[in-house]
Symmetry: C2
């Protein structure tokens, strides 16, 4: 099925079911009112939500998505964590700064936890607090989980992938360098994330879901120009089941946990980039100077995941950078 | 006022108001059903909850706390972050391992984010997953906030301190060293936190609240033996308003955010310790060997905050270590 959250109806918004063609939606006639409630009570409501989704195959049903104002699928979530799974990303960025790569990064995923308490809508403006902090986008594939018990195996964890989606994991590069130098985790360098409007169950992604990862291109644009079209299923060192099992090593993941695999990045430079910092690192290595600027006031950021049949799997993230 | 959450009534438990003498409680007759709801809608319910609290001064009202089964005040929360504010703690522990102290740790607080999605009840057993991971307690003072806007000043942030409480921030020391060596933030080394049952508004802490920090002893016991009785208002480099403002630098804190000031630690060794690792570091420096073991199956951990008049401010954390 395909789910989304409309703005309004309370802090957590209003859950809607979206049609397979992603053109229409309905508020489910019975069952959960919010995405979190659906995830908390998934065994109770999965079939009813699925039935509503199938009913929407009849094009006479539902309201046009153009008239809807989407929030993030989970406007607030209890957990967000990410593994850095596209090692090319880490190698380009840290290499470009002459920083050492983390010990053991080839053997086990580098994970960190960050903000989940207030997620941005797909078309939220981005307030640029300080240009000197070097604001960057990071196009990232995420899953939303059910309950993953502590100590779960990769297979058990994979069975708890309820929904798949996409986020723009905003990063202040300069603050990130400072925080890493300080020897703590990232905090201030991660001001927030906007989410694509639709989240899709793995079974309804069809060939766009490998069983453990998304099979799609992430088309990333800044100011209308293509920054990159990397594939999510290329050059990935750790996939979702591994990340989830790693995260569940000493504590469970609760229903509604959002987990990402990090900025998508391909070894082939022709694929371009899903963040600006990588492009700059390559420019620096090649030309001795990074010329692509970080995000500036007035810039628009567009991110879309395209399946091999051209379907826009999660709808578009489209944000404008505005003064703080 | 004093609030708590009883187990039962849903994932988020049932909100109760606790009497000033901490002996009786009632489910509020109107208003929010959960702690998160109270915090989300604080301006709407603060006066009603306060009125219920005052009614409980009449000893004929309420049920005895002995008959209640408390959950964590927020069984799940949207945000948890901590600053390392007792520098003695960091200096002893990292110094004892020959590790460098973080750059700038005297100038700005070292903060990190960790799990909030599933908090442990005050008397939850602690499952010891692997003794080689070196399980330790960490007695920590926390506040629960209202909405702290991004870029808030210290004064604005202080005004959003809704409730004060206490947690046992469990830590696997060996995993923490590994994660720090890896150059990422802490994740697996923090399996969870148990919370003392009561949370108290700053005004009702009376002389036990300085305006920016708790004025109390944290009595810490392992296996019935005193580990330490450090004071929370001694040797603290950064207080709550500073930590909150620091955390809000690039993103707001939502209502129900839990923020700690780190393991309480005093320079005077006569105060003892609020975690085992510090005691071991001092033993190692003094005698050439650390003799106090980390937590073992069968150990009990007791933590209590005592005001200068002897009041047990937040009730007791009392946990037993059990096999996984």
């Amino acid at each position: 099925m395909i789910l989304a959250t409309l703005q309004g109806g309370g802090i957590d918004g209003t859950l809607v079911v979206v049609s397979r063609d992603r053109r229409r939606l309905v508020v489910p006639p019975r069952g959960p009112r919010t995405m979190q409630q659906a995830l908390d009570e998934w065994p109770s409501w999965e079939h009813a939500l699925e039935a509503t989704f199938v009913e929407l195959d009849d094009e006479r049903h539902g309201f046009p998505v153009e008239h809807a104002t989407f929030d993030a699928p989970l406007p607030r979530a209890f957990h967000w964590a990410e593994g850095s799974c596209y090692l090319q990303h880490m190698e380009r960025i840290r290499g470009g700064r002459g920083e050492a790569l983390p010990v053991d990064h080839l053997r086990q995923p580098i994970v960190y936890q960050s903000g989940s308490a207030r997620n941005m809508a797909p078309c939220s403006d981005i307030a640029l607090l300080d240009p000197a902090w070097e604001l960057d986008l990071e196009a990232t594939v995420v899953v939303i989980t059910g309950h993953v018990r502590g100590g779960a195996s990769e297979d058990e964890a994979a069975d708890q992938i309820r929904l798949v989606g996409m986020t723009n994991d905003l990063t202040y590069r300069k603050l990130l360098v400072d925080e890493r130098r300080q020897g703590t985790g990232v905090y201030s360098s991660k001001p927030g994330r906007a989410y694509a409007p639709f989240v899709v169950s793995p079974s309804d992604l069809g060939p766009a879901w490998s069983g453990s990862n998304l099979r799609a291109v992430l088309r990333c644009e800044v100011g209308g120009d293509t920054l990159g079209v990397p594939r999510a299923d290329r050059d990935i060192a750790f996939e979702f089941p591994q990340i989830l099992a790693h995260l569940a090593k000493t504590r469970p993941l609760v229903p509604g946990s959002i987990v990402g695999t990090g900025t998508v990045s391909n070894a082939d430079p022709a694929a371009g980039y899903a963040c600006i910092a990588e492009k700059r690192a390559v420019e620096l290595a090649k030309d001795g100077a990074a010329t692509t600027p970080f995000l500036r006031v007035g810039d628009t950021v567009g991110i879309e995941a395209l399946g091999d049949d051209g379907t826009s799997l999660f709808g578009r993230i489209r944000q404008t950078v505005v003064p703080a």
